[in-house]
């Protein structure tokens, strides 16, 4: 900008401000009068501009610092005299009693009233001071600005707040005592809180306002957040008092001995204290008071609460007190991410209840085996009824566990907020009792397999797909808990084979569904053999029909043929006891078949071996059935025909009687010689043909239930049945049922052999890959490889390693640490 000649610029008129040094006292006198008027709430006659201008002139006259000092002095005097007098005047003697507890009701009421009066006065004094100082600061803003920017002094507002702190709050209430106004304030507020905690109603907003004061005052002139009086003096006292209160409250609640009450009160206290922080005290204390509650009330007592006799978690679980359990859970979760006492209690109860279920299953077994032994010692066949009861016990066992599971699932979902920690605790407890074996005798695998067997045979009749699905899923859930899955597999295979061969399955769809569920749950390897059983069944069907076709083409169509349905089973995939002809290590000769049947057998063998060279067929007569047409010559000359569905052995026996003249008999020994049916099977078959009341095709002499070698059998022409087709089952031979002790031992023996083989296979697999490995590492790897199928016994692994070393598959490479090498 060019500076052309111009009028000289006027300086602001000096003297307009009229401030000269000797005017300071005059101005101050006027100012102080005005300021006092502000304090006495007499400001509406005052002109802001006038006061402002006076202070402005003083500051402009370089007397700002002095003015600032004078104002502080004025405030100090005002607080010392007027405000202090007002506040201390409201302190009644009852407030000075150092009573901690609300003992006498009258005294408490008196003290509360006195306290409220005092707090109201203090609150009023504080709010007045704030309001007046805001006005004074506003009106002296010019001074304030200059003082804080040029002289780095705190705002007069801040300075006067500090004056309030020192000259009102921290001033002794009387010259002769050290008790300060603040002390009375603190004890009064804590007293009020105590009252409220014991159920009285107090003036919350009043206390809140007094807390505002403590939040608005600072220890330092720089007013750091952390130096609020509320935080430096009041909060510690409040927390200490709360700590004491909740320690006592915890003891009191435990004494009442009711866990539900404890939880209810604790939960209420929690929300109550949070609310108190918001409504009555300061949000600053929210987390700290929660910590006090968590530590003093909950953490210290939760274990005792959980275990309270008669009301604790055990009782809650037994009575499905979902709400109570939820409270316990919520409280536990606050103080301990592991919720240890709760988890332990839940686990303990699950195992207890589980063992009860185990025990009741075993009890029914014991009673049945006792009953089974009664009729004749040394007799292998248990009576039919108790056997069923045993199976029923097994199924009940599964049902009971499922019910227990459902109960805890419900609790877990609704009370424990689907908590992870509790879920795994519950799972491990179920697993614990399910796999718990008394004297190495866990029947869970067998029971579970029987459960499936029962359902697949009968249980699912008339059920919808969805229902079946749920049923199977329940079973699968239990399977999850079973550690020795190989054991289950063995039982399942056995039971499945019977279902398949005897066509006892209600639905093949359900069977397949079951397999795929197991596959999902346990893996491919587990179901491989089961699936191949199904495959054998379908191949056999094709085989049967192609054989029929072959026969029709190759032979005389007029000739009456024996129809043959055949199942060719791959020997390794099916249960051993079905496949083996050996019983008790004796080689059993095949039974002598009737001519016509034998020719069919040979014809099929020819057909089959012609198709599959190099295979060996071995016939399992014990597993087959036959349909025969029987003609009964009544005494009155009438002829009655029935179609009989019998086992293969029964068919052989019955055909013998074709060659026996009417009315003549055969003895047991004769029958045995002519058929070569094993004793065991023969007895059972004869029982069903001659003893069972509805299927008595043969008559036995004498008429007893037992079959003795000397018994005579004769064809019963008087056989009566309301049905055209009669099914004659074999006594206890085909039904899947709980094994007796001997069978179990055998199963276990087989199992242990199979496991040994699996362990060896695993060791060799691992070592082949790793070449050398330390003992402990090898153990770990074997355990992890096999864990899906069963939990291998460590000693067994050691023995297998020894055995592999003996057989020179492995060698010891080093002793410390023991290390093995793979011998190629």
């Amino acid at each position: 900008m060019s500076l052309r000649a111009r009028n000289k610029i006027r300086a602001p008129r000096r003297g307009m401000t009229g401030s000269k040094t000797n005017d300071f006292e005059t101005s101050w006198a006027e100012l102080s009068t005005s300021l006092k008027k502000i304090h006495t709430k007499d400001a509406s006659a005052l002109s802001f501009e006038e006061i402002y201008r006076k202070s402005y002139n003083i500051v402009l006259g370089m007397r700002g610092t002095e003015l600032y000092e004078r104002i502080q002095q004025l405030e100090r005097e005002w607080l010392d005299t007027e405000v202090h007098k007002l506040v201390t005047g409201a302190i009644s003697p009852s407030l000075l009693l150092a009573k901690q507890l609300v003992d006498a009701q009258d005294q408490a009421n008196e003290r509360r009233d006195a306290g409220e009066r005092f707090l109201a006065v203090l609150k009023e004094a504080w709010e007045d001071h704030q309001l007046c100082m805001k006005m004074i600061t506003d009106v002296l803003m010019y001074m304030d600005r200059v003082m804080s920017t040029d002289h780095r002094k705190p705002s007069i507002y801040v300075a006067s707040m500090a004056l309030f702190r020192d000259h009102v709050l921290r001033a002794p209430i009387r010259p002769d005592t050290t008790t300060s106004v603040y002390d009375v304030l603190e004890s009064t507020v804590l007293f009020m809180l105590q009252l409220e905690r014991s159920g009285h109603i107090i003036d919350r907003p009043l206390i809140r306002h007094c807390v505002y004061m403590l939040e608005g005052l600072y220890e330092t002139i720089t007013e750091e957040e952390s130096s609020k009086l509320y935080l430096t003096v009041f909060e510690p006292a409040f927390l200490e008092a709360s700590k004491k209160f909740y320690q006592a409250e915890g003891r009191r609640l435990l004494e009442t001995g009711d866990a539900a009450t404890f939880c209810k009160v604790a939960t209420e206290r929690l929300s109550e204290e949070t609310e108190r922080c918001i409504d009555t005290l300061s949000s600053l204390s929210k987390t700290k008071i929660k910590d006090v509650l968590d530590n003093e009330l909950i953490k210290n007592n939760i274990a005792e609460v959980v275990n309270l006799e008669g009301t604790g978690v055990r009782t809650m679980l037994d009575n499905d007190r979902i709400d109570n359990l939820r409270s316990v859970y919520v409280l536990s979760a606050r103080v301990d991410s592991k919720k240890t006492p709760l988890t332990t209690a839940v686990q303990r109860r699950i195992v207890e209840m589980g063992k009860e279920i185990n025990a009741s299953a075993i009890a029914s077994q014991v009673s049945t085996s006792a009953a089974g032994k009664k009729p004749e010692p040394g007799e292998k066949k248990p009576a039919e009824k108790p056997v069923n009861q045993q199976t029923v016990a097994a199924i009940k066992w599964v049902d009971d566990i499922l019910r227990l599971k459902q109960k805890f699932d419900n609790i877990w979902e609704n009370a424990f907020e689907s908590d992870q920690v509790l879920q795994s605790a519950i799972t491990s407890s179920f697993s614990e009792f399910i796999n718990f074996s008394q004297g190495g005798d866990s029947r869970s695998s067998e029971y579970l397999s029987l459960f499936f067997d029962e359902n697949l045979k009968k249980g699912i009749k008339g059920k919808t797909d969805a229902e079946i699905d749920i049923l199977l899923d329940n079973g699968i859930t239990l399977l999850r808990y079973i550690k020795d899955k190989d054991m289950f597999e063995a039982y399942y295979k056995k039971h499945l084979s019977r279902r398949l061969l005897m066509k006892r399955s209600v639905s093949m769809d359900a069977e397949r569904q079951m397999i795929s569920k197991m596959k999902m749950e346990v893996g491919n390897q587990f179901t491989q053999r089961l699936e191949s059983m199904f495959k054998d069944m379908t191949i056999s069907e094709d085989l049967t029909s192609s054989y029929k076709e072959h026969m029709r083409q190759s032979s005389d169509p007029d000739q009456k043929r024996i129809e043959l349905d055949i199942n060719v089973l791959t020997s390794t995939m099916w249960p051993m006891e079905i496949m083996s002809n050996a019983r008790n290590d004796e080689v059993q000769l095949p039974p002598i078949l009737p001519k016509e049947v034998d020719s069919v057998k040979q014809s099929f063998e020819q057909f089959y071996l012609g198709k599959h060279n190099g295979r060996k067929l071995s016939w399992q007569a014990s597993m087959g059935t036959a349909d025969i047409r029987a003609t009964f010559q009544r005494a009155n000359g009438k002829v009655q025909r029935h179609e009989l569905n019998v086992s293969t052995y029964a068919m052989i026996i019955l055909l013998l009687f074709n060659d026996v003249p009417t009315g003549e008999s055969l003895t047991y020994t004769e029958i045995q010689e002519r058929t070569r049916i094993p004793d065991h099977d023969l007895i059972r078959n004869l029982q069903s043909l001659a003893v069972a009341p509805k299927t008595r095709v043969l008559k036995k002499d004498p008429m007893s239930k037992d079959v003795k070698p000397t018994d005579k059998f004769v064809f019963n022409n008087e056989f009566q049945s309301p049905f055209m087709k009669v099914r004659i089952g074999v006594v206890s031979g085909s039904a899947n049922k709980v094994e007796n002790q001997d069978q179990r031992k055998e199963t276990e023996k087989k199992m242990s052999e199979e496991r040994g083989a699996s362990i060896e296979a695993a060791i060799v697999r691992i070592m082949k890959q790793r070449k050398t490995l330390i003992h402990s590492q090898l153990m770990t790897e074997v355990l992890s490889q096999l864990s899906a199928r069963f939990v291998p016994d460590v000693n067994m692994i050691k023995k297998r390693i020894e055995s592999l070393i003996d057989r020179e598959y492995l060698e010891r490479v080093e002793e410390d640490p023991p290390t093995y090498g793979y011998v190629a």
Binding site: P12, S47, V139, M141, Y142
Partner: protein
């Protein structure tokens, strides 16, 4: 009067309006109306003893030491920290009750410029580019003093 460049502002000269040269002789009232809101009730119709009407009033009166009155919107006047506190409803000083601020040590001619600045400040609120406001050099020192006094 040289306030025409406050372009969006609608300046309504009143019959009492006096040009600068006559200032020293006839103190008067100047109404500055900004925006499209209707003119307020003139101050003299308001009852000074009725604080509610003044605290609700959108307009306040600034009075110079030599008696010139300027009626401007309250929000505009509050550009000045001093006037804002003066009018603070909670403070209960006489100015907040009457809505009338007598600024003893500011002359009419300076106060007029101050009012112009208030409008200028309002208008350019939150603008990234602000055109210069014309300040006559001969006024600049006095205006500086006034600015300091008014915290503007």
């Amino acid at each position: 009067m040289i306030i025409t460049h406050l372009s969006p502002a609608r300046l309504v000269p009143l019959p009492y309006f006096h040009p600068i040269p006559s200032l020293s002789f006839a103190p008067s009232t100047t109404y500055l109306f900004i925006g499209t809101s209707p003119p307020p009730t003139p101050p003299h119709t308001m009852s000074a003893s009725d604080p509610s009407s003044s605290s609700q009033s959108e307009y306040v009166t600034l009075v110079s030491g030599d008696g010139f009155e300027f009626v401007i919107p309250r929000s505009t006047a509050c550009v000045s920290g001093t006037i804002r506190r003066m009018l603070e409803p909670s403070s209960r000083f006489s100015e907040s009750v009457t809505g009338r601020c007598v600024l003893e040590n500011i002359s009419g001619i300076v106060l007029e410029k101050v009012c112009e600045y208030f409008c200028y400040n309002e208008k350019n609120k939150n603008q990234t580019y602000v055109p210069d406001m014309d300040i006559p050099p001969e006024l600049c020192l006095e205006l500086l003093m006034a600015a300091d006094y008014l915290d503007a």
